[in-house]
Homo-oligomer: 448 residues x 2
């Protein structure tokens, strides 16, 4: 499989930039507080930590104060100052701190980082991680979240896991790939765009579509499944574009993302943008509308993701890149084929009761309650509902990659629950996010 | 597709029993309390509801008091008295009320039902549901859980959803099947055993295996995917056995189960047993050991599943059928090919941080913390970890079907995180739950 991939991928490989040393901001919390490590957050936390304001520094970075470098600026072409979008991202729509930086539904205080460690290489970042893990293990600081921030010239994938440095080989079990059996830099080193979606066949259709759009495919060409050794996920590549399926739901996409981030890291990829192209249920939109996610919110409309670690819940940010969302919106205007909006996306753990449907095997609420809930979601800025965006945003945030979610709405949930459009209509709807993202990639590569 | 299925399935169809009227116990709670509706629970709740002890009765059922008929007795061949296993099931291992019947991690009191309505037909059960929904909508009782209990001669699939009675057609979107386009009783009316697992190819392998074991298959026969119209799930059938894939994680299997329960209901199936045959990480067991789940527990080792409904969390029971587990254990002794144990299974929402792995893209804890957590799980009776069993148990409980979880362990998590066994070894491991369940089905059909 490896040899075949080299052959398939070789002619499209781009030179990737040399690897400058990153700086990593490691955030330490007051014991008992969890953090989503928002840039500049210490100015806004509901629970500031005076002790932590002057934390230890392994290596000062005066040129780019780590605490104010927005993670989402990594791929923005060199601007290392906080953008208006990143400043806006530090506030909720009302200007108040976002729920994820305030108090979670269980009353757990969620505070920002205070002490910070700035490192100038992956090795020292690993040391910093180890120091924090030691602090946590000794109970001095727990639970922890890390916020990687580094000069914009550094746009590599980052891992928040020092243990991986000790591993000789890394088996990506659900991809049926491994560093001991596959040459990751040769196979994937040129990847700049990763598009992910639930359905394997749709992701294969996307790679065929994008190959033709980029002039990299031959008519009737077949693109082999790079993950042919498993049926958990399907993966296809052409030139700088990787297309990966992730199944349905937060756990399924989370497994894929952990292994994808490690794949990109082992491949020494840089300047990577990851976009989820999916389907969803719309709220107050005509079916077939496309929603570019502004914030992914949970079932209580808060922009946060609850990650359970060792039996404890940690709150993580689900913000997405505002600038990338605007660029995608501009692409939709340029192709001008379907209605597109920027709005909040509600991410649920369940398709039936979790999305207030009346047509599951179990439903113990009335239609009026369903409509009240969906209207409350609409009032909170929610324009569509799906099942993967929150953990997608959280993992991309922690890995320092630009990310966006672009989903088409298959129905208007204010008018019904069942997806009853014809097969042909649904197929055309599902091509819309592909067209939009395809146009975006062509623009980025100067092919429009 | 429909015609082809009739042809394929016709020769294996069994006569299914006439449909006696069921009785349904609808449980009403004190406002603000959620229930897991355990049989006989009112004797043990931490928050009894005196008012509720003498609830209204639409139609008394003196022969079989609804409050003491265990749901898990439906398929047990006629015994309508609570078994020792059902009485044990009402207690934790220590004899104390199970955590799910006590207080959930967020401090929400979880109380039992008190008032009960007993109905003698699906129509009146729908009326009872409607009454409860009205009570809930008016705020008199919320949140609600329903406990269906009925004479053991009634062993049909039950839906906890009165809204479906009003629907002309029901589209099972993720199966690409619908009552308006497919004759469900003709296609599936004879189903008695449903085996579900994550991988589509493994579920196809199982249908080929069971067809040969039951003498229903011809050599080299191919079994068409009944869900060929979608790539979300794969479904295969031979005689009374249905084999369905469910992907990875709670949300993915929940979508499949909602549609599977509706499929079995629309098909008028009776005496159905559903068994999940899967893979897992073991704790303190040699790789390749098979675990038959006693209780599915969450990341805090509590036998409960948190279902979010309209933004609120309801706690549901994750108990499984003790008698069925014992029958499966006996089957393992009879085939005597691999180590099998009955133990608790921890069900998590994440494969990496959620299962205390050190090899994900994100890991902010030390190896010592990981081992402490896994050893605490072992001390709580956990013998393996997977990602679907809790919602599987919860939905099967509410639908009145016998259910079991049989998973092979691919590694011992106390010794590592990476699944590094050879492909051939892993394939042989994955055949073990199939052999065990295959032997069980043969015994049930008198073919051993």
């Amino acid at each position: 499989m490896h040899t075949r991939h080299r052959h398939i991928l070789g002619k499209h490989r781009l030179k990737h930039s040399p690897r400058p040393p990153p700086a990593v901001t490691v955030t330490r919390l007051r014991p008992g507080l969890s953090s989503i490590a928002q840039p500049g957050q210490e100015k806004q936390t509901a629970h500031p930590d005076p002790q932590g304001q002057e934390g230890p520094r392994l290596s000062p970075d005066t040129a780019v104060p780590p605490c104010i470098v927005p993670r989402r600026q990594h791929g923005d072409g060199g601007n290392s100052q906080p953008s208006s979008s990143s400043r806006r991202r530090q506030r909720g729509r009302s200007g108040r701190p976002e729920p994820a930086t305030g108090t979670d539904p269980r009353g757990t205080a969620v505070a920002s980082a205070a002490a910070s460690l700035t490192c100038r290489s992956l090795e020292t970042s690993a040391i910093a991680c180890a120091i924090q893990i030691l602090l946590r293990a000794t109970g001095i600081g727990q639970p922890l979240e890390f916020s990687f921030s580094f000069p914009a010239r550094d746009n590599l994938i980052h891992l928040s896991n020092p243990h991986l440095e000790k591993m000789k080989d890394d088996i990506l079990y659900h991809f049926a790939l491994g560093t001991g059996t596959h040459d990751f830099p040769a196979l994937f080193g040129d990847v700049k765009f990763v598009c992910v979606g639930g359905s394997p066949s749709r992701m294969k259709a996307f790679i065929t579509y994008i190959a033709e759009e980029l002039g990299l495919g031959s008519v009737g060409a077949d693109y082999p499944n790079i993950c042919a050794g498993t049926d958990r996920y399907a993966m296809y590549k052409v030139g700088p574009v990787l297309s990966v399926s992730h199944g349905m739901g937060i756990p399924s996409i989370a497994i894929m993302l952990h292994e994808l981030i490690k794949l990109l890291y082992h491949s020494k990829c840089s300047n990577v943008t990851i976009i989820r192209i999916g389907t969803s249920g719309g709220i107050g939109l005509e079916p077939g509308s496309v929603v570019i996610t502004s914030q992914s919110v949970d079932a209580t409309f808060k922009p946060q993701f609850e990650q359970v670690i060792l039996g404890k819940t940690v709150i993580r940010s689900t913000n997405l890149d505002d600038q990338l969302a605007k660029e995608l919106m501009q692409c939709s205007k340029e192709i001008n084929e379907f209605n597109t909006v920027i709005g909040n996306t509600m991410c649920t753990l369940d398709f039936y009761e979790g999305q207030a449907r009346l047509d599951g095997a179990i439903c113990l609420y009335a239609e009026e309650e369903k409509l009240q809930y969906l209207k409350a979601a609409y009032d909170a800025g929610v324009r569509n509902i799906e099942m993967e965006s929150s953990v997608f945003a959280a993992i991309c945030n922690l890995s320092g990659v630009r990310a966006a979610v672009v989903c088409v709405t298959l129905l208007n949930r204010l008018e019904g629950d069942q997806i009853s459009s014809s097969h042909d209509v649904l197929v055309e709807y599902q091509q819309r996010p592909q067209k939009l993202v395809g146009h975006f990639i062509k623009k980025c590569l100067g092919k429009v």
